[in-house]
């Protein structure tokens, strides 16, 4: 099990770790030339089209060669790079509360929000269920530490809310320029149907614990399902362990295959290490 002290989000050590990670991410960020920013976003050097001059247009964008040849004032239009918007969605269902997965997921979310706020144009955070109250958006990392305190206080929730509703509520389904990172254990099939409907770039981060991968159990056990609170007594022997391993690895491969089929980036984290956030950012295409 990872050191739980590292995931005290309001601690100085955690802030220190975040700064280190942020520096690493900055180094690996894709180099882009400073461009004027209009309301639509950043213009790129890629030429797109000519259009008629309208009064008020910037004269610097008039193509004078065309004017010499055709005696027409036309304006050069370039491709516009849309603003980079990262949405971090955290699963706070009861199943995430087992084996300190939620604490690690919260640490990952905090790191993503912090780095995203530093490097990207906009970062939003929301957790489901409990969506309404949890929405937070940041365009820079100022005043971000109160968010960490808020994140620290979030606990697992018994309610069941679908990811689709969450997307619909924040009108994310039709947005093509939003990069979403869903941090969950994906124990419900419903997540995949929702993520399939999502048009933007989506990265699924499956959080599993060492205890889930290699459980050390034997004898009589009374299992309690974290989400449904159902109890079931079992005698754990080698045969039962084989069944568990088979079922669990089937589930992992099922999630992986599903993401591959629907062009969803998939990442699995079993060692609760905070540097994994760089992998997420790399997979999402923000850094090299």
């Amino acid at each position: 099990m990872a050191n739980s002290k590292l995931y005290q989000l309001d601690s100085a050590e955690f802030a220190k770790q975040l700064n280190i990670l942020c520096l690493k991410a900055k180094k690996r960020k894709k180099q882009q030339q400073r461009l004027p920013i209009n309301w639509q976003g950043k213009e790129t050097f890629e030429f797109e089209e000519y259009r008629q001059y309208n009064p008020g247009d910037d004269l610097r964008r008039v193509d004078w060669n065309i004017y010499n040849r055709l005696q027409e004032i036309v304006i050069k239009e370039y491709e516009i790079d849309p603003p980079q918007h990262l949405v971090v969605i955290l699963d706070i269902s009861k199943s995430m509360d087992v084996f300190h997965k939620l604490q690690y997921a919260k640490a990952l979310s905090a790191a993503l929000v912090y780095i995203g706020a530093t490097l990207l144009d906009k970062v939003s955070f929301l957790c489901f269920p409990h969506t309404q109250q949890s929405l937070r958006s940041f365009s820079n990392n100022r005043n971000i530490f109160p968010f960490f305190s808020f994140l620290q206080q979030i606990s697992s929730h018994q309610d069941v809310a679908s990811l689709k509703e969450c997307f619909q509520q924040f009108r994310l389904l039709n947005s093509t320029n939003i990069n979403t990172v869903v941090i969950s254990d994906f124990y419900t099939q419903e997540y995949f149907t929702s993520m399939r409907m999502f048009r933007g770039t989506c990265t699924a981060v499956q959080v599993v614990s060492e205890e889930e991968l290699h459980p050390q159990l034997s004898g009589n056990m009374c299992f309690e399902d974290a989400e449904s609170n159902k109890q079931h007594s079992l005698f754990i022997d080698k045969e039962r362990m084989k069944i568990y391993h088979k079922n669990f690895h089937d589930h992992l491969s099922q999630v992986k295959n599903h993401c591959w089929q629907h062009k969803i980036n998939y990442l699995l984290t079993e060692k609760h290490n905070l540097t994994f956030v760089l992998n997420i950012l790399q997979t999402a295409g923000f850094i090299r």
């Binding site: 299992f223 159902k230 079931h232 007594s233 079992l234 005698f235 079922n247």
Partner: protein
């Protein structure tokens, strides 16, 4: 149902042991899992019952439970019916030969065996009427056999074991006459605690047994319970070295309430005695007896004249003579066997009597003598054959006779004259004899110093030799051990000796293995 050892019932509390084990086993450890279905098989459903019945558990628990119960019950020894506490039954089984009498295809002994098998033998000790009374184990009931019966010994032996509240049960056919004297006394002493079970129907019986053997004297007792006078014959014959076909016989009259004691003087060896009478119980009508060889000599002197000098010489060796008879006629000789007969008669015929082992004949005529003899007068030129065992340390060179009959054919010569043999040894009808060619009265032999030595040599020659026993070296001596019977070392008054049955031992082992398996599985 009652229990002989009810105090073992507290062990029933051990029955909780499997239950405790199950409770301990069922103490589940709670464990929260994110997704419970990973732990289930296909088609396995969730059950909320924490105490669900596991067939394998039941399969382990049930035999464990039963084994505890059976082990406990076997220790408590449950029984049905009324049990007289502290009472014990001493069963005396008659094994006399009459118990072999068969009626309706079952002998009396078999009837007793059937009865013994039906009895609850836990509180019974079975004795047989052997010479040394034996206690028969339950498993050996079927191997009981008839044999010599010693009722007095057995009853006194059983009385040593008798304790208060014990009961004595006797299985007998009552044929053995000892019962008639013992049972009334026992009944008077024991009262209701004596039970006599008579086996078989009454039938008049006569039997024979040897009461005493003293050197060569043998005492036979003929017992019977005939109510009318019956005449019978006592037959006997020698069985070794080869069984003789010819029986000696004696007529006997059996009178009511009168037993007969016969005294016989017999040669050493194995003898068979029979009572020739027709009756149902034939087993006790025949008896065999071995008469051991005596080192002393039984001597008979037959003389028509008074021979004091000879009798004086014979009287010197009383330590070599068992008993001595003298008679003037053969007919008056008692019906006995003698090792040596000194015959000093004018005439002798071996066919008249054959119950002499060896004979010394003093100038006696008969058909056994070779013919003719040379009669010589006043001769004194005799010579000894010293190497002959009868002539050791004997010198008859000074012997003088008035008349002497000399024979020339004999090979075993003792005293030789130039014209023939004066004293010689031969045999007739397998009876060895020494012939002296002159009579005691016509010679000075009785006054010679060697005469007593000659008599001693004759006595030694005729004395029965003790059997030689050879123990070959390096040959182990086999000692027969009687494993069929156990002498009781201790009979507990309260019969609290717990016999661990085989199923208790097997059960205990199985219990241990099951416990280990159960814990191992847990």
């Amino acid at each position: 149902m009652s229990f002989l050892h009810a105090h073992y019932l507290w062990l029933l509390s051990a029955l909780f042991f499997p239950l405790i084990m199950r409770l301990r086993k069922k103490k589940y450890q709670n464990f929260s899992v994110p997704h419970l279905h990973f732990w289930l098989r296909e088609n396995e459903t969730l059950k909320h019952n924490k105490w669900k019945v596991d067939v394998r558990d039941i399969l382990y628990l049930l035999p464990l439970f039963l084994l505890f119960l059976l082990t406990n019950l076997s220790l408590t020894e449950p029984y049905r019916g009324e049990l007289r506490k502290n009472s014990h039954y001493l069963v005396i089984t008659d094994i006399s030969p009459s118990m072999k009498t068969v009626k309706n295809s079952q002998s009396r002994l078999q009837q007793v065996q059937t009865l013994l098998r039906k009895m609850s033998l836990k509180n019974h000790t079975i004795f047989t009427t052997h010479k040394i009374p034996k206690v028969v184990q339950i498993k050996d009931i079927d191997r009981l056999e008839v044999g010599p019966s010693y009722v007095k010994n057995t009853v006194s032996f059983v009385e040593n074991f008798y304790q208060q509240d014990d009961h004595i049960v006797i299985f007998t056919d009552g044929v053995d006459k000892e019962w008639s004297s013992i049972l009334p006394k026992l009944k008077q002493k024991m009262g209701d605690k004596l039970r006599v079970k008579t086996i078989g129907d009454y039938c008049p019986n006569a039997g024979i047994y040897v009461t005493k053997v003293e050197s060569s004297q043998l005492y036979l007792q003929i017992y019977h319970d005939y109510t009318t006078p019956t005449s019978t014959r006592l037959l006997w014959r020698k069985l070794d070295p080869t069984p003789q076909q010819k029986f000696y016989e004696k007529k006997i009259q059996l009178r009511p309430q009168k037993n007969i004691v016969e005294k016989l003087s017999l040669l050493p060896g194995k003898w068979e005695f029979r009572l020739d009478i027709e009756e149902d119980l034939q087993q006790d009508n025949r008896v065999t007896q071995i008469i051991e060889k005596q080192q002393k000599c039984r001597v008979l002197v037959l003389s028509d004249k008074n021979i004091p000098e000879f009798m004086a010489a014979l009287g010197v060796y009383q330590n070599l003579i068992d008993h001595k008879n003298s008679s003037f006629e053969v007919q008056t000789v008692p019906n006995k066997f003698f090792d040596l007969a000194f015959v000093h008669l004018p005439k002798w015929d071996f066919s008249i009597k054959t119950n002499f082992a060896k004979v010394v004949l003093w100038n006696t005529k008969g058909n056994f003598l070779p013919y003719p003899a040379l009669r010589v007068e006043k001769k004194n030129n005799f010579r000894n054959v010293f190497h002959h065992k009868l002539m050791q340390n004997v010198d008859f060179s000074l012997l003088t006779t008035k008349f002497i009959d000399l024979y020339t054919h004999s090979k075993n010569n003792l005293v030789i004259h130039p014209n023939g043999n004066a004293i010689w040894q031969s045999s007739h009808q397998n009876i060895p004899f020494v012939y002296v060619g002159f009579s005691l009265k016509n010679s000075n032999i009785a006054f010679l110093p060697s005469f007593p030595i000659f008599i001693k040599n004759l006595l030694k020659w005729a004395s029965p030799q003790p059997p030689k026993v050879y123990f070959p070296t390096k040959t182990p001596i086999t000692l027969k051990a009687n494993i069929r019977y156990d002498t009781p070392l201790k009979i507990d008054k309260h019969n609290e000796v717990v016999y661990l049955q085989w199923y208790v031992i097997v059960g205990a082992y199985a219990l241990g293995i099951l416990c280990i398996a159960y814990f191992w599985r847990s």
